[in-house]
Symmetry: C2
């Protein structure tokens, strides 16, 4: 899918926020790193360990949510003890699969390019510290990243705006001059609540139509397409 823009106003009035943003707030899972499908398998294995089950597609649709909200959807009948067990089994299964984590095309190039342009780069995730450490290893890009959020920084994850609110503060740039990039409908909703322009990528496996409906001002096949756009505008 090519970039889509719902506006027909002249470019001078509504310049592409991807080109003018002073800070990029970047989701990681499904946006920079190809992890969503491994998360689905890990949650499915964790449910099985707790003698319950949910279809993979319904787990997929909940990826990126706060884990409490994710469990409300995929294990609605589980009691607190089962929920704790499912969460802890997910972490174990996901850790077993973490050697399969791969960069998405253009991920490192995007971070480097933004850094070179002087755009602030903030990773806006609510993953636990252990997962963030592994993400940083895969990205191998710390020299281009200005700040990171983790589970420890926020009370409530996406679709609540907290992750992006902290990311905006760390970027040191007003919300209206930030752009948030994510792959899940929850990213789009959280960005809107935080007053940030949301841009979607389809590499998490969520269709562009769903991201647009959730508030994306434009949708790209993946961050490689955003790299190409930035390079063409240079």
């Amino acid at each position: 899918m090519n970039a889509t823009s719902p506006t027909s106003a002249p470019a001078s009035e509504h310049a592409d926020p991807l080109l003018t943003a002073e800070a990029y707030l970047l989701d990681v899972d499904g946006t920079l790193i190809d992890s969503n499908y491994l998360h689905v398998i890990a949650w499915q294995r964790a449910l099985r360990d707790a003698n319950t089950a949910a279809p993979a597609a319904s787990i997929h649709a909940a990826i990126g949510l706060d884990s409490a909200k994710l469990l409300d959807r995929i294990a609605p009948e589980a009691d607190d003890e089962q929920r704790d067990r499912i969460s802890s089994r997910h972490s174990a299964h996901y850790s077993d699969l973490s050697e399969e984590l791969a960069l998405l095309p253009g991920a490192r190039e995007l971070l480097r390019l933004l850094h070179e342009r002087g755009t602030r780069v903030v990773l806006a995730t609510s993953a636990p510290q252990e997962e963030v450490d592994r993400q940083l290893e895969v990205l191998d890009a710390e020299q281009w990243i200005d700040a990171i959020t983790t589970a420890e920084d926020v009370e409530t994850a996406k679709p609540e705006p907290d992750v992006f609110a902290v990311a905006i503060e760390r970027a040191g740039v007003p919300a209206e001059r930030c752009v948030a990039i994510g792959d899940a409908r929850w990213d789009m909703i959280a960005a809107a609540k935080a007053g940030v322009v949301a841009v979607g990528v389809e590499t998490g496996g969520t269709d562009g139509g769903v991201l647009t409906e959730a508030g994306a001002v434009s949708v790209h096949q993946g961050v490689q397409e955003i790299v190409d756009l930035l390079q063409r505008s240079a």
Copy 2:
């Protein structure tokens, strides 16, 4: 998502094909059995074995295609030898994951109910015999199934119409009195080419909007919703 119907004509003129069909041509992977995400992981591992890679979401979008067409998309630069290696590694990795195959909600109930109503039930798949054998084990429903297609029956898999053409013949019912149920855009396209009404389910992880665009006359969250519809109409 609830069932959607693009028609506003009176019910008497356009009765729901799900209720009036004399034969159901059923896709299996992603429709009756929760296998698509395991296929994605198996293909991704197979690509890695051949020193290549593709994002999981782009593999997911190609699941359900003829494997030659799937490889054109996920490994466009592979030569014939590499393509053979990737295919054979996929089979091996998928076989390793096959203990994780699970029924989708309502799958067995649908087969039983259709059989009891006197509707012909044909599994319309182009999976290799070995995978079909494993599917039948998981379904445990042979007493309710009238016919099956496999890779051996067709030259060209979905989105070409061959699978459904053979399924129609085995159903022994004219195409216009058959309904095809599937989860992938390829199922919808193949059904249209075979002259069969296509109905989509979202359990394969493809959004309803995408299925509708590919020709689905209605889309359901999963086959459980079709079971509920049949039961309400009984």
